[in-house]
């Protein structure tokens, strides 16, 4: 070959060029470099601290000195199943379930509209409306809800203007969920939970619905399915992974939250509050750790059941 012939490789120079050339030739090295930092984070900092916490639940506290006894025991778990603690668990479970179901019912139509009908400007407006509440402080939102739900609040005022005070009173008179006012009742806690976690249900549901091709819905109608049947047999099953993803958020966030029930609601404890009090003022780290195991076990069971029911078949 003559010296004047052009080489097929371009002249290369500089450290950055040579580095990228080296990484091009060794894709495994690139993958390692990309994955090691997050894996270290996930493995040591994240999972490590979680396991350290879980390990605490197998220790016990000395009732007289208040010191932790570092010997393996299941006595903390025995304590967890005492009636008062069981009460907290059941209360949190019922609340989380109610909030999750309600966010599916409220969130699905919104997600459906956004995925199937909203275009361009409307879609941008949808995202703004869903995300906007997430931009403001969580505490501010919860306190404003306390004002909205209070006896002197806007809901009572509207009820008065519409001559519907009797209805509000009737709702508040319902045993268990009612109370002296909405801001001091389970119903109020429920409403605030629903408001705060709703975006976490809408967004994954909308993403799942977006991926359902329009021609599947046409095909279903073409084969003789009326809209209700199409919804049950095509749209809902295909959106289910998104709904499950959303319900993981709403369910676990409700299970773990300790601020909302403290500000809006009755004085009875939810899981998060129990953990907060036990590790703080009470200093009972083992029992607090045992309490944190509860939502993890519940979520594990929930996902297992969802998988068994075929919720992830469409993934």
């Amino acid at each position: 070959m003559s010296a004047g012939a052009a080489s097929i490789t371009l002249e290369r120079g500089g450290l950055a060029r040579r580095t990228s050339d080296a990484l091009f030739r060794r894709p495994a090295l690139l993958l390692t470099l990309l994955l090691v930092p997050p894996l270290l984070w996930l493995g040591i900092v994240y999972l490590g601290s979680l396991f350290a916490l879980l390990a605490q639940s197998f220790f016990s506290i000395d009732e007289f000195s208040g010191l932790i006894n570092y010997e393996f025991t299941l006595s903390t778990y025995r304590e967890l199943f005492r009636l008062a603690n069981l009460d907290v668990i059941i209360r949190s479970l019922v609340m989380a379930t109610a909030v999750t179901l309600a966010s599916v019912v409220v969130g699905f139509p919104i997600a459906y509209f956004a995925a199937r009908y909203a275009r361009g400007k409307w879609k941008a407006l949808f995202y703004l409306a869903i995300m906007l509440p997430l931009w403001s402080s969580y505490l501010v939102k919860v306190y404003s809800w306390k004002l909205i739900l209070a006896k002197e609040g806007i809901i009572t005022w509207i009820a008065q203007k519409l001559h519907l005070v009797w209805l509000l009173d009737a709702v508040l008179a319902i045993p268990v969920i009612g109370g002296p006012s909405l801001s001091i009742s389970y119903l109020g806690t429920f409403l605030v939970f629903l408001y705060v976690w709703l975006p976490f249900m809408i967004l994954p549901t909308q993403a799942a619905l977006e991926r359902v091709p329009g021609n599947l819905i046409e095909a279903s109608a073409d084969l003789g399915a009326h809209p209700g049947q199409t919804f049950r047999t095509v749209i809902f099953p295909l959106a289910l992974p998104g709904i499950i993803a959303g319900s993981i958020f709403t369910f676990s966030l409700t299970l773990g939250d300790y601020i909302i029930p403290q500000i809006v609601g009755t004085s009875s404890y939810f899981l998060g509050q129990a953990v907060y009090t036990l590790q703080g003022t009470a200093g009972n780290i083992p029992l607090a750790a045992a309490f944190t195991v509860v939502p993890i076990v519940i979520m594990g069971l929930y996902l297992w059941i969802a998988k068994r029911m075929g919720a992830f078949d469409a993934l």
Binding site: P213, N215, L216, E218, A219, S220, A221, D222, L223, G224, A225, H226, P227, Q229, T233, V234, P237, L238, D313, A314
Partner: protein
């Protein structure tokens, strides 16, 4: 003969776009009817009007004598094979095929029996338990076909069903679809942009352009006797002769079509008699296509292409040749001169 589908002055407008513009059409029962045209010509919208996914802006549609306007797709005894098959990804092949029966409340046992028969019909026995994602393009196409046929539709609509298949499979499916249609006697309405497909399969072909039907007829008519320049050009890429060129070579002063395969390269010393028309032309390019060679030439301002058996003449770009064709090969069209 019963009319399966009747369009009376049907239009479908989307805003200012006239997707379907004043179409009048009759499709007979048991017919294999092809709608052929370039993309955006309105053929798919016509299909969607029959299926019920679109409602006409104006005009009247009848399916087996019954008014179709306002009838939703799920109450029409018409089924569609979609372009990309639209199989339900969360159901196996058997449930996909049995879907139409399931929503009509047919019992599980009956449904499975008929679905298996439909799968056997499209030669997919043994694939019941697979998911659509585990099938090849050709197999999915067959599942889509079985899923439509199991409902015993009065009209089967096919929206470019072979478009996603490779050539070999497409040719095989063309033969199978035609055989299937003949055996079942169901009216097939087939949308395609592939003229070869339309001509080889259909009993009658409608040529669409810009929302209108340009010509309807049996394949021979469409191919041999195009009524418009558009048809001549679109179906098999005929030579469209300008009125001036047509007159100069001894024809009438009208737009005319001349099939490339009718043109020969004249190599004798003496010029042919009056029954043979001829002209001098300059060769622009030569395309070897296997059995035939396509030669593009220019005669004055007129482009002419000729297909001749490969090896019958040695020509190269830049040569001046004499093109000749029988006077009867010229087909005069209806376009204004």
């Amino acid at each position: 003969m019963t009319t399966a589908v009747r369009f009376q002055r049907v239009s479908r407008h989307f805003g200012t776009v006239r997707a379907v513009d004043d179409v009048t059409l009759d499709i007979a029962e048991g017919e294999f009817f092809a709608m052929l045209g370039p993309s955006g010509s309105g053929k798919t919208t016509c299909l969607r009007l029959i299926a019920g996914f679109e409602q006409p802006t104006s005009g009247h549609i009848e399916i087996f004598g019954e008014t179709a306007e306002g009838v939703p797709p799920y109450r029409r005894n018409v089924n569609t094979v979609f372009q990309d098959y639209a199989l339900f990804p969360h159901m196996n092949v058997l449930d996909n095929v049995g879907y139409g029966l399931m929503v009509r409340g047919v019992s599980k046992a009956q449904r499975d029996k008929r679905s298996l028969e439909a799968l056997a019909l499209v030669e997919l026995a043994g694939f019941e338990a697979r998911r659509p994602g585990q099938l090849s393009g050709g197999q999915r196409q067959r599942v889509a076909l079985a899923r439509a046929l199991v409902n015993e539709p009065k009209v089967l609509l096919l929206d470019e069903p072979l478009g996603a298949l490779d050539l070999k499979l497409r040719e095989q499916m063309q033969v199978e679809l035609k055989t299937l249609q003949r055996n079942l006697g169901i009216t097939f309405v087939f949308v395609t942009h592939d003229q070869g497909e339309a001509l080889s399969m259909a009993d009658r072909v409608a040529i669409f352009n810009e929302g209108k039907i340009v010509q309807v007829g049996v394949p021979e008519d469409i191919y041999e006797r195009p009524r418009r320049r558009f048809v001549a050009d679109f179906v098999g890429s005929s030579n469209v002769l300008t009125p001036d060129f047509s007159a100069r070579t001894g024809g009438p002063h009208k737009w005319a079509s001349l099939r490339p395969e009718k043109i020969d390269i004249w190599r004798e010393e003496t010029l042919p008699d009056a029954t043979v028309r001829h002209c001098e032309a300059k060769v622009i390019s030569v395309h070897y296509q296997g059995a035939v060679t396509r030669i593009a030439t220019q005669a004055g301002g007129q482009l002419l292409s000729a297909t001749i058996p490969s090896g019958s003449a040695k020509v190269s770009p830049g040569d001046i040749v004499t093109l000749a064709w029988p006077a009867g090969a010229l087909h005069v069209m209806e376009d204004e001169a």
